[in-house]
Amino acid sequence: MLSRVAESLYWMSRYLERAEHTARLLDLNLNLMLDQAPDPDGLRWPRLLESLRVTLRANAKTDAYSVAQALTFDAKNKASIIACMSAARENARQVREQISSEMWEELNQLFLQTKRAGRKWKATPHLFFRGVKEGAHLFQGITDSTLSHSEGWHFIQAGRFIERASATAALLEAHVGELFEPSDSEVEHSDYLDMVGLLKSCTAFEAYCKVYTADLNPERIAEFLLLNPEFPRSVRFAAEMIQTALGAIGELAETRKNGRANRLSGRLRAALSFSQIDEIMGGGLRPYLNDIKRQCAQIHTALYQQYVSYPIEAALRSDGKQPNQ
C-alpha cells in the first residue's frame, strides 16, 4: 500500500475520533452545568480545555458558551470539532478511491451537517452534539462493515486507538487534582457529580456500575479507565487494539515485522496488562499518565518512521542490492 494512502487513512480516523471526543466532553459539561451550583472557582472550563490539550487565545471569553463555541465552530482553532472534521474529510478525499462510497458519503454528510448547524446549535446543544457523536459512530460502523479489513483498515484502527489512548490519559490527568487532592471546603454532592461527570465523559458510567456498583471511588474510577480490559474506551483496551493493528500491518506490509512501532506498542500493552492500581497510585498517578501519553507519541513517531516517512537511503540498503519489487 502506498505510504501516502496509509497516512491519509490514519489521519482521517484520528481526526474523527478527536472530533467525537470533543463533542462528547462539551455535551457532558454543558449538561452538568444544569445540575450544579454556578462554578465558583471557574475551574470547570479550564479543566475541560486541559483535558482536550487546548489553549484558547489570550483574550478569549471563558464563559461556558463562548468556550463551547470556540471548541466547536472556530475553524482557526485546530482542535475545534469543525476543524477536525474538515481535516478528516480532506484526508478521506485524498484517498477517496481507497475507501468505500458509503464511508465517503457519511463523512461528507456529517461534515456538511455540522457546518450548517452554525449558530442554531445553542438552542439545543444536546441534540447537536448527539448528532456529531452518532455520525462518528455511524462512520466507524460503516467502515467496519463496508471496507475490507486489510492493511488500510488496520491503519484506520491504529489512528483511532492511538488517539483514544492518549485522549483518555489526558482526560484522567486533568481530573487527578479534583479526585485525589480535594480541598476541605468542597461539598460532597459536588464531588459525586464530578466523578459521575468524569465517567460519563468516557460513556463509562454504566459500564463502571456493572463492575463496581454505583459506589463511586476515585481509585476504582482510575483503575477502570486505565486498566479495564473489556471497556472500549479504557487505555488498556486501546493499547491492545493498537498492538493488534500494528501487528497486522507488519504482516501485511511484508517487511520489518519486529519494527520499533510493534515493540513499543507491545510494551505499552504489557505494562497496562500487568499493572495494579495500588502500585500506580504509589508511584504517582500523574507521572504514570504522563508516561502513557509519551509512549503513545513514541508509537506514532515509530509508525511514521517505519511506514510513511522512512529515509530513502535506509530503505534502499535494507533489502540488499535491489530494493524489493
Binding site: 502506498l2 505510504s3 477517496r96 478511491e97 534502499l316 535494507s318
Partner: protein, 488 residues
C-alpha cells in the same frame, strides 16, 4: 433553402414532433424522414414508449451516475466545481461497415503519426525533404528538444489516443482533432455502457452491440508491452490528484486495471531508477501511465514551479529504466496547425491516401490564408493551436462583433498560434429532451491503443451539444454524452 431539400417527408409523430431535419447529416433519419435501417428498431421502440416511461428511464440513468460519483471539474472559477456529466439515454448507432472504415482510417493515421514522431526526434527526414516547414516544428510549444535522439520503448510514442471524428453532410467521417497527449473521456464511454445496459436491457440484448468492456484489459496489456526488460513489471497510473478535472477517470481506470494510483509525491528517483514509496518499503516502477502534461512531469527538466511531477523522472526515462505512456513531446503531432499536414504525413510515410479526410484548415501564418480568414471571421471557426477542451475558440456565426475584434487582435499579434476552419454542420442524433426526442449535434471519440499492435475497442465516446443549435460538445462547455453502439 434547407427545408426545400426535403419537401416530401412525412410529418413526425410523437415523441418526434419537435424533431427537425436540415442540411446536416442526421444519424437516425434519411433526408426523406424514413429511419435508417440501423435505427429502425430504436425508432419503433421509442414510438411505442410513453413519454413518462422514457422520462423514468432517463431519471434512473441520472441517479445511477450521481450515486457512482461520476463527475468532472469545471475550471475558470475560484475553486473547482464538481458536476455530473450530462447523459442522454438514447444510444448512437454505428453500422459494421461504417466502423470498418473508421477502424482502418484510424490505424493508418496513428501508424503514420507514430512514424512521424520517431522521424522528427531522430533524423528529421520529413523536414529535410521539405514536406513540413522547419519553423512549423520549432515554433510549436509542445516540441521537446530534450527528446531528440532518445529511444522510446518499442519505438511507440503514442500508446493511448482519442481521436475526435465528426460526420460531414455527405455522411463520411472526418478527423477533427488528434489527441495524442493525455486524451480523456474513456471512463465515460465505459460508464455509459454500464448504465444503458441497466436502463434498456431488452433492446440492448436484441441489437447485436459489440462489447467494449475489455478496454481495461487491453489498456493494461498495452502498458505491459512497453515495460523495459522485466517479466512482471510494476505499472502505475500517475495522477495530478483529486483536484484534477479527470480525477474520477484516473481512479476508475486504476481500479479497472488493478494498478496503483500514484501522485508525484509517491514516486522518487534514485540513480535513474523510479521507486514508489509503500508501507512495505520502496518498490521499483517500470511503466507509468501518466495523466500529467509534459510541462509538469519533471521539475528538473521541464517547468520548475510545480510539485505535481517527479524530480529526476526524465533522466530515468532517458536511461531506459522506465516507460512513459504516452511518450514526452507527442503534443507536436496534435498541434492544430500541424494537423493540416497530416494527409501529407500519411502519404510520406505510408505512401497511401488518408482514409479518413481532414477538415479544410487555414494556416494563419500564411499571409493569403490569414487575410481570407480575417475577412471572414463571422463565417469561420478559429482555434488556438495548443488548446483543448473547447477553450480558446471562436465560432464565427455565433460570435459577437466584440469577440471577433478580440480574436482579430490576437491573430495579428501571434498568427502561428491560430488556425481557421469552416463552420461545420455536425451530424445530428436523436436525444431525449424535455419529454421529446430532438436532434442535437454529436461527434465521436474512439480510443486507440498501440502496444503489441493497434487495437480500437468498437465504440467510443459520443459527445452531444445539448443546447439546441450549439456546436460545442466539450464537457467543460456544457456538453453531454451518450452511449455508442457499434453493431456486428
Amino acid at each position: 433553402m434547407t427545408s426545400l431539400d426535403v419537401p416530401t417527408r412525412r410529418p413526425f409523430r410523437a415523441p418526434f414532433r419537435k424533431y427537425q431535419l436540415d442540411n446536416a447529416y442526421d444519424e437516425m433519419f434519411e433526408p426523406s424522414g424514413v429511419p435508417r435501417a440501423s435505427y429502425e428498431t430504436l425508432h419503433e421502440r421509442l414510438g411505442e414508449m410513453a413519454a413518462e416511461e422514457l422520462r423514468r428511464r432517463q431519471k434512473a440513468a441520472d441517479l445511477s451516475f450521481l450515486h457512482q460519483g461520476i463527475t468532472f471539474t469545471v475550471y475558470g472559477r475560484e475553486e473547482g466545481t464538481e458536476k455530473i456529466f450530462p447523459y442522454d439515454v438514447l444510444p448512437r448507432i454505428i453500422t459494421s461497415g461504417e466502423w470498418t472504415t473508421i477502424e482502418r482510417g484510424l490505424i493508418q493515421r496513428i501508424t503514420a503519426l507514430n512514424l512521424f514522431l520517431k522521424d522528427l526526434y531522430h533524423e528529421g527526414k520529413i523536414l529535410n525533404d521539405r514536406v513540413i516547414p522547419r519553423e512549423m516544428i520549432y515554433t510549436c510549444r509542445h516540441y521537446r528538444r530534450e527528446m531528440r535522439g532518445l529511444r522510446v520503448p518499442r519505438e511507440i510514442y503514442i500508446s493511448i489516443v482519442g481521436t475526435d471524428l465528426v460526420r460531414l453532410e455527405d455522411g463520411r467521417f472526418a478527423v477533427l482533432e488528434d489527441n495524442l497527449r493525455v486524451p480523456s473521456g474513456v471512463s465515460y464511454m465505459l460508464a455509459n455502457r454500464q448504465v444503458i445496459k441497466r436502463v434498456f436491457p431488452g433492446m440492448f440484448s436484441n441489437y447485436g452491440v459489440r462489447p467494449i468492456d475489455q478496454y481495461g484489459q487491453v489498456l493494461l496489456a498495452t502498458l505491459r508491452a512497453l515495460a523495459p526488460h522485466r517479466d512482471d513489471p510494476t505499472i502505475v497510473l500517475l495522477t495530478p490528484g483529486p483536484y484534477n478535472s479527470a480525477y474520477f477517470e484516473h481512479t476508475f481506470l486504476a481500479r479497472q486495471m488493478g494498478i496503483e494510483l500514484v501522485e508525484g509525491r509517491d514516486l522518487l528517483v534514485h540513480e535513474n531508477v523510479v521507486y514508489m514509496r509503500t508501507t512495505g518499503g520502496l518498490r521499483r516502477v517500470d511503466v507509468i501511465y501518466r495523466r500529467i502534461d509534459d510541462d509538469f512531469i519533471d521539475p528538473l527538466t521541464f517547468r520548475g514551479d510545480t510539485s505535481l511531477g517527479v524530480a529526476g523522472l526524465f533522466n530515468a526515462y532517458r536511461a531506459g529504466n522506465v516507460a512513459l505512456a504516452n511518450a514526452i513531446g507527442t503534443g507536436i503531432a496534435d498541434d492544430k496547425a500541424l494537423y493540416a499536414y497530416v494527409p501529407a504525413i500519411i502519404r510520406y510515410y505510408l505512401d497511401e491516401d488518408a482514409i479518413l479526410p481532414n477538415i479544410e484548415t487555414y494556416l494563419l501564418s500564411d499571409e493569403s490564408q490569414r487575410s481570407y480568414v480575417l475577412d471572414n471571421l463571422d463565417k469561420l471557426v478559429v482555434k488556438a493551436v495548443g488548446e483543448s477542451g473547447g477553450y480558446g475558440m471562436l465560432i464565427g456565426p455565433h460570435s459577437t462583433a466584440a469577440q471577433r475584434e478580440e480574436f482579430r487582435r490576437r491573430i495579428v499579434a501571434d498568427p502561428r498560434n491560430y488556425i481557421g476552419q469552416p463552420t461545420l454542420a455536425l451530424s445530428r442524433a436523436p436525444c431525449f429532451i424535455d419529454g421529446q426526442v430532438e436532434a442535437r449535434c454529436v461527434d465521436l471519440r474512439p480510443y486507440i491503443l498501440y502496444g503489441d499492435g493497434i487495437t480500437i475497442v468498437p465504440g467510443g465516446l459520443t459527445r452531444v451539444a445539448l443546447q439546441r443549435g450549439s456546436l460545442v460538445v466539450n464537457s467543460s462547455q456544457g456538453g453531454g454524452s451518450k452511449d455508442t453502439w457499434v453493431l456486428y
